[in-house]
Amino acid sequence: MDYDPDNLFRDDEEDPEGEFFQERESSKEFVVYLIDARPEMLAQDAGKSESHFHAANRCITESLKTLIINRDYDEVAICFFNTKEKKNMQDLDSVYVFNVPEREELDRPTARLIKEFSHIEEKFLTKIGSRNGIIPMTRENSLYNAIWVSQGLLRRGSSKNVDKRILLFTNEDDPFRHVDGATKSDMIRTTLQRAKDVQDLSISIELFPMCRPGTEFNTYKFYAELLGLEGEELSEFLPLAAEKIEDMVDQLKKRIFKKRVIRRMAFLIHDDMWIELNSYALIRPTSPGVITWLDSVSNTQLKSERSFICADTGTLLQEPMERFHLHKNEIVRFSLEELSEVKRISSVPLFLLGFKPTDCLKDYHNLKPSTFLYPSDEEIDGSTCIFVALYRAMLKYQRFALAFFGSSTHPQLVALVAQDDMIRNGVQLEPPGMHMIYLPYCNDIRSIEELQNHDSDTIPRATDDQIEKAMAVMKKLDLKEFSISQFANPALQRHYALLQVLALGDDVDELPEINDETLPDEEGMRRPGVVNALEGFKAAVYGENHDAEEAALEATKSGGEASKKRKAETAVKEAANYNWDDLAESGKLKDLTMPELKNYLAAHNLPVTGKKDALISRILTHLGK
């Protein structure tokens, strides 16, 4: 497998460590999205345009889109319960397993599945139908059925290398409220037993509770017991009473993907004091995915083979195990073991060196995306306690910790910055923990600012008046609620849209125009207030006559163009001194000098770049030979 050879999504340089950005996944996931389809789920509030059903649909569609690109080996099934129609292997009532052709019920997501699922709401009522599946006087139990069907869907695969999950989306905290008496307790008992059986098979059930503003989803009523939640874990579910449906969707999205630990590491604090940390990649650049080479004739996959050839003798080699460097014309050889030894500085993964005030961390002390650290008590008991104590002390004194991170590829200094838990409207904006920021060495920092020679008297500095004008501009152009995740990457969106169109076999002319969210708000920029502020700033720093001065400068440049014209004229004159046809015929062009050849090219408005051979062949083509 190759990386994108076009460097389509990188700008200037290759990834320093390709691996760093590629998450290594050891296990795959089987997921059943189990969606409640009671009429209450589809209901729309007056004024609020989005139903819970729609919100769940949106969350799942987005997560499927992420899956299909990044984790295409995961398998999913989509299953509705409380439906009029039924479609499932066990032929149970009120459960409908949604699928598209050319696909098993539990299978990798396809372009078609996503497309049809995202549009399902339009025809849901006519094709599948919605009703409450738990009705008094019958012994029907749609929740029980739904869990059973999900279990059936997840029967494949050993629990050792597959994570099996059921994600349950509902807005009903008390599913059995319409029934009572012995029937109710009986139904609750059997449902709980069913859920327990499922969990005994190492299938986890996760609840995605949804509720209307003002009401609360009471987990204690029923689901706490079904999920087997206790004290601490339960508290995680509580802040879900979100103000806005948008916030709720955000929260649901955060939980759809399992938190994946990149690595577990030991952190040496002092002498023999170790604690255990898990690291997570919260921010990593998303790439358009790996490329598989195909044979364009048969559309079959190709595999690449590498062969090593000795440059001196042409012998075919095994993969060479030694590297060398030419040092003063002497070959210095290194074996691979020696090399890793040279690079190895310390065997301790992470150890603490000390603390510094947060303002010592400069804006340019950055090389690659940070890694998030959260403590774990799994192997070293008390890690969380020590971590929290340090974390609080660092926040209190506004310090960051300087530590040494001894990775095998690039050992380096890191800053550990404590991040306070940030919650707004019940949504966790920033999780609590520490961010590990990779610091540069002196070899990595360039003193660009000092590059230009300036005399101290030629450097103007802003006056208070000018700064005032700039402040006015800033006030007008304030992005109040800016958050980093508000822009989608237009290049990636375009790429995915293209893939989807091609995967579905649609015409590329139907490729939807991607809305580039990263462009400035042109309309806002034209508002008179903004324009005035900008004009004021411009006049303050550039002077009133800036545009005129620029135009004058431009004019002197076009004076340069005039001289260009003069040059072209001389070239024509010079070129006329030779009989080019004759020279070309007799092959004597190569006897001319480069400037002489260039005269001809310049006289005929041809490019004058390249080596002599290129110039000659260009002249010959022009002469029609």
């Binding site: 003063k328 510094k356 340019y364 920092i445 360039r446 989807q500 400035p520």
Partner: protein, 524 residues
Amino acid sequence: MARNREALVFLLDVSPSMHNLLPDVSKLCHMIIERKFFDNKSDEVAVVLFGTQDTNNELEKEVGGYEHVVVVRAIKVIADDIFEVLSDLPRGTTPGDFLDAIVVGMDLLIKKFGPTNKGKKRLCLVTNAQHPIKEPDEGTKDDQIDALCEQLKAHGMKLECIVARGKFTGVADKRIVNENDYLLSRFSGKGIARTVFVEDRASLLGAIQTRTVSPVTIFRGDLELSNVMKIKVWVYKKSVVERFPTLKKYSDKAPPNSKFSTHEVKVDFEYKSKDNPNNIVPPEQRIRGYRYGPQVVPISSAELEALKFKPEKGIKLLGFTNASNIRRHQYMRDTYVFIPEPGNRKAILAVSTMARAMKNANKVSILRCVWRQGQGNVVVGVLTPNLSSSDNIPDSFYFNILPFAEDVREFHFPSFNKLPLSRQPNEKQQGAADNLVKMLDLVPSGKGEALRPEVTPNPVLEKSRDFNELLRELKGACKEECLKPFWEHVMSEGITLISKKESFDSDVSEEDAKDFLVKDEMLQ
């Protein structure tokens, strides 16, 4: 001849007060030369010592004066002899005059290159500047320095001064030290010199860029606040990871003793169809396929080129926002620096105004950048002000790339306050942690910051150089096919295990290291 070759003149102070520092100075120079062997083999280096007992320089012969300055190696391409010179620095006996040394160094460069090779000529002065500077024959010292600056500028030479201070300073006359500091600052005030004060070994070794890169701009053009207001800027990289030098694969099949063996290995890639391994598919018949779920979607290069996202080149302002809306850990990559177009007073002023206003209001600005025409993507990032502390450096901005929505994975982590009390620290534990944070302070008040990234060299890059050094010596010893000279060498050099004292990750105590030393009788 390589076009980018640099000429470097070391001006090393060897006067008595510098003696205890000389081993480190020699190591610093070693490092620089070693690096040059890796990257810039045709660079030229001269070594000038001052504070010596003897005098040996052309200026002294031509015009007199310039005593106690010795040119131990004239400017020539680096070769083995320079290591001999550097490892055997004589201990001087007279107080050194760094101004004399600078003049001698400049003279070397001017005689060799004249006005050519601009910007590639560097003088590197290492001194503790404790000794008085002689009064010039005419004019004041200030005038003399101004005249030197003119010359440095006219010939495109750069001067780097590394001044040992702090615990390196023994007993020194405060007045002289102050005067010398003033003189050195006069050089840097003119914008052609850089002065670094170092206080410990690590920062001495990190004080000089061992490898000189000529930086290239990523972008030159307008920073567009809007259609009407634009600022001319140049964009460079500010931080870039310096790699371990790439090594070539070694072919052991090449004739071992032939002078013409390159021992290089060519790597060929062939693409074969999976079903029929004998069928090699030529490059033009290959087509790129992207996975989309179970499907692999073929896209030809032409199709991709025609349909891909094609933004216009340019840097556009999206708006300003509170600095607290951007968090430090959201920076994605290496950092860029935006400097105003050199020589453009308007641009310098505009950048200064914007930077200062942003600093005052604690705001940052959000930009959308497309560095080159034809680039297939955009970046959105944050521009932060960098106010210059020196009169001759204009204000500038730092720019860090921020993640897009797709790049962020939001996970929920339980809040620490909601953890059961048994897993939270009690008051005593919290107190201990508070103390630890206060005690392990790397920026003790009144002293400089320890382990500053700007002066901390990468131990891997340094280590490899040491390793090489050893390899080379081993080789020399083994050539005689007798190991005795090798061990004699080990003995004479006092080579031993790296002890804990020298390196924090070593598990060898100082005593063990001493025991490991090769004794005379072992060789018998």
